[in-house]
């Protein structure tokens, strides 16, 4: 449904096809002028009988082919021979890779696999095939680098097939983007010498899956930098990148779990810790004062939620802290051993800020439970002691003002309860303001209550986020974007709404009426308005000006060799 006025009458709800089936990819191209009633018949009744649909992108990026194979010969396809050939390849691919299973099989698989370590999974087992989403990374030479489940070594022939697909289509001056089968989507992303493949039977759109693969790529970049990866593979085409990534699999595993369960990745926004504005301001001032030359970013987080951040003045002109960089940094920190007594000093790249350079990150926890974390990013690798000194000043300031206690009282629960809004029909929501003050446009934020009620088990959480992903995919569809969608699912009713001022996703209990839902929205928006100073960073701290910023303050140094990240690799 695509009307802007939530008050307009709607035709009725629709049931989503069961999640294991996946959406018929062709429905994006169907006439959706009134998608609600139409989809009701179409979606469950029309599992695509053609085995696979393949989307090949002309290198110019404009032309998409999305045809069932039997129709293919009838079409005037400029490159039909190569498509036909690829077709044969891909059906073989499907035999190996793509298995559709009943839901029970899937659930069992999830439980079973949790018991064993994913890395040791038997890649020939049904349970392996039944995973919701596989992610593979390989090098252009076809060398396996990473597999989300199972040992990548055992998958080398599968990855070989993937590479064959990629290079075959490449030889026709095309690049493969995706393959659709009746219940799986395969999405391909090529970034420099790396190929990333997602094989999923979730409700996520191709666009979302592509975005996730880019997050994975960026996480690798955050550890190695793009420049050094390019250099490594220029020198040795069949280099085994696992040498440099061993020990980092957990970081990628964790990221892939997060992108499925934390809306910050889906929304591309930062989650702020709800705090009284005055406390947030004081903490910002504290960070602003505790600076040293070449200190570029000071970031204070609590349980992966942003408290406040300060950045060096000269940096702001050309660059800014992107939510993605913060998410990836927090994921990396979360996947790392941390003890309160230790202070970490490590090179780290912020891929969206600059994919080719390292910052030196100082990471330290301020409380014994390791919930409040201070991150200081410097461009000087020898500045550990002076940066550590900044931390001591911040710690001291927080102690004398009792800020830490004030912070931890806001940390009792991971977030806030949806009950605070005071409307019983509302189960959960995600709200991303789009009208944030100009000077803080660089850091999109969102707010979302804790998941409660029926969404306590992991399966239920996945189900809800699948629905959110589905709504997000419809709203942001490249072919037919929507502004408002009211969606009656099996066990809940959802409403997503985008205006120039916000992007909002809400989940109601299934018995809500349309009028009731609209009513709840009004109340929710009023509540958010009232709470916005607490929920968001409305007035960010002024930029800091570090004394005598040295040569490196504008941009970090480009030299990877100096850091020796791949010095031992050859």
């Amino acid at each position: 449904m695509e009307n802007e006025d939530p008050g307009l009458p709607c035709k009725g709800g629709m049931d989503l096809p069961e999640q294991k089936r996946g959406l018929d990819p062709t429905d994006r191209y169907g006439d959706e002028s009134c998608s609600v009633s139409e989809k009701q018949e179409e979606a469950p009744a029309a599992p695509n009988n053609g085995p696979l649909n393949m989307v090949v992108d002309k290198v110019n990026g404009q032309e998409e082919l999305r045809e069932a194979p039997e129709e293919l010969s009838d079409k005037d396809v400029s490159d039909s021979t190569s498509i036909d050939n690829t077709w044969e390849d891909s059906s073989e691919f499907r035999r190996q890779m793509v298995i559709g299973d009943g839901p029970s099989g899937e659930e069992e698989a999830v439980i079973q696999s949790r018991l064993a370590t994913y890395r040791d999974e038997d890649v020939t087992a049904e349970s392996w095939r039944a995973h919701r989403k596989h992610v593979f990374i390989l090098s252009e030479a076809g060398k396996p680098i990473y597999s989300r489940y199972g040992n990548e070594e055992a998958l080398s022939s599968t990855m070989g097939v993937m590479m064959a697909l990629v290079s075959f289509i490449q030889s026709g001056d095309n690049s493969i983007r995706s393959i659709y089968s009746d219940d799986h989507k395969l999405v391909f992303v090529q970034q420099g010498p790396l190929v990333l493949v997602s094989v999923s039977h979730t409700l996520q759109s191709e666009q979302q899956l592509r975005q996730e693969l880019l997050y994975v790529y960026d996480q690798i970049i955050s550890m190695l930098t793009q420049a050094s990866i390019t250099r490594i593979f220029e020198r040795k085409k069949n280099y085994d990148l696992r040498r440099l990534l061993t020990g980092s699999e957990k970081i990628l595993d964790r990221l892939l779990n997060l992108v499925e369960s934390d809306p910050c990745f889906l929304l591309g926004a930062v989650r702020c810790l709800p705090l009284p504005a005055s406390l947030r301001d004081s903490l910002g001032t504290l960070l602003q004062k505790a600076i040293t030359p070449n200190l570029v970013f000071s970031i204070l987080v609590a349980r992966s939620q942003l408290v406040t951040t300060v950045q060096e003045k000269t940096v702001i002109e050309d660059c800014r802290l992107e939510p993605t960089d913060l998410h990836l940094l927090l994921n990396l920190i979360g996947a790392t051993s941390a003890f309160q007594t230790g202070e970490i000093w490590t090179p780290i790249c912020l891929p969206r800020f600059n994919p080719d350079c390292y910052f030196y990150a100082y990471i330290s926890y301020l409380d014994s439970e390791c919930t409040v974390c201070l991150i200081l990013l410097s461009t000087d690798k020898d500045s550990f002691y002076s940066v550590s000194d900044c931390k001591k000043r911040i710690e001291e300031g927080m102690r004398t003002q009792n800020y830490l206690q004030a912070l931890s009282s806001g940390l009792k629960s991971p977030s806030y309860s949806v009950g605070l809004v005071g409307v019983p029909d509302l189960r959960h929501f995600m709200y991303k303001p789009l009208d944030i003050p100009d000077n803080y446009r660089q850091l999109p934020q969102f707010t979302s209550p804790e998941l409660e009620g029926p969404y306590c088990s992991e399966n239920e959480r996945h189900r809800l986020f699948d629905l959110y992903h589905y709504l997000h995919g419809r709203i942001h569809s490249t072919s037919r974007p929507l502004r408002l969608i009211y969606h009656v699912a099996e066990k809940e009713t959802l409403l997503a709404w985008v205006t120039s001022k916000f992007e909002l996703y809400t989940c109601f209990n299934p018995l809500v009426t349309k009028a009731g839902a609209i009513n709840v929205l009004t109340k929710l928006l009023r509540w958010i308005k009232k709470e916005e100073d607490r929920l968001f960073i409305r007035y960010p701290p002024k930029y800091s000006t570090t004394p005598n910023p040295g040569k490196g303050s504008r941009a970090p140094r480009t030299d990877g060799t100096e850091n020796g990240f791949f010095g031992g690799g050859h």
């Binding site: 990534l245 061993t246 051993s337 003890f339 230790g342 490590t346 780290i348 020796g564 990240f565 690799g569």
Partner: protein, 232 residues
């Protein structure tokens, strides 16, 4: 404020460097995940502040080793007694990183994870050294020891040779090789406390000579021999 002396933990990934330090500092064993970069800890030892750097063993961070080692007063080269390769790596990859350490740096060889080995299996070394994969935490059965104390002692002598130090002046190999278990706590306190005791004279000497914390290697080449006998 800069600490008085620096102790660095080096060794291949997954040998238990972080666990060792955690056992010593926090008095408990906790499953850890891979370290990134290096982690800095401060230990009050008498009137001295001794800094301990726990480094990442992953090859990704390999080149950083010499940065963390700069000016170190002691380096703990850590291996896993159940994994021969981890000992080989010490010699191949990590020993060269200590070039940036203080010229009178102490070397300690520590074999961790003795709790995993079968205490009775003091069998002569067999040829099938490379077959066993590194032990994971969920393997409960005891595995055979792959590296013995004698190997560590032999390695220690290699270090002295590499550093061109005279065995007579350097601390005795038997004193500098430890076998530990971060999991049970076996020998961990002994390891660190011995090191701290030995580091203090080095600190005092450094202070007396007013040596800067960071040592320029090029200027210290000649100093090596004169300092070598100081730590006993």
């Amino acid at each position: 404020m800069k600490p008085d002396g620096k102790v660095v933990l080096l060794g291949d990934m997954n040998v238990g460097k972080t666990s060792l330090l955690h056992r010593y500092m926090e008095r408990r064993f906790q499953d850890t995940v891979s370290t990134v970069g290096g982690a800095f800890y401060l230990k009050q030892w008498g009137p001295h502040n001794i800094s301990i750097w726990d480094t990442a063993g992953r090859e990704q961070f390999h080149g950083l080793g010499s940065m963390y080692c700069r000016g170190a007063a002691a380096v703990i080269l850590t291996y896993d007694v159940t994994n021969l390769q981890s000992m080989v790596e010490l010699e191949d990859r990590f020993l060269a990183l200590t070039d940036s350490a203080s010229p009178d740096c102490l070397f300690i060889v520590a074999g961790n994870k003795v709790d995993l080995t079968d205490a009775c299996a003091f069998l002569p070394e067999s040829e099938d050294k490379q077959i066993e994969k590194p032990p994971n935490s969920f393997i409960s059965t005891k595995v055979k020891k792959q590296v013995h104390v004698n190997d560590a002692i032999a390695f220690y002598r290699k270090i002295l040779k590499y550093k061109m130090l005279d065995e007579v002046n350097a601390p005795a190999a038997e004193k500098m090789c430890f076998e530990t278990s971060a999991k049970t706590g076996y020998n961990v306190d002994h390891l660190f406390e011995t090191i701290f005791e030995m580091v203090v004279p080095v600190i005092l000497q450094q202070k007396a000579e007013g040596l800067p914390q960071t040592v320029d290697l090029n200027n210290c080449k000649t100093a090596k021999n004169t300092h070598s006998g100081c730590c006993r």
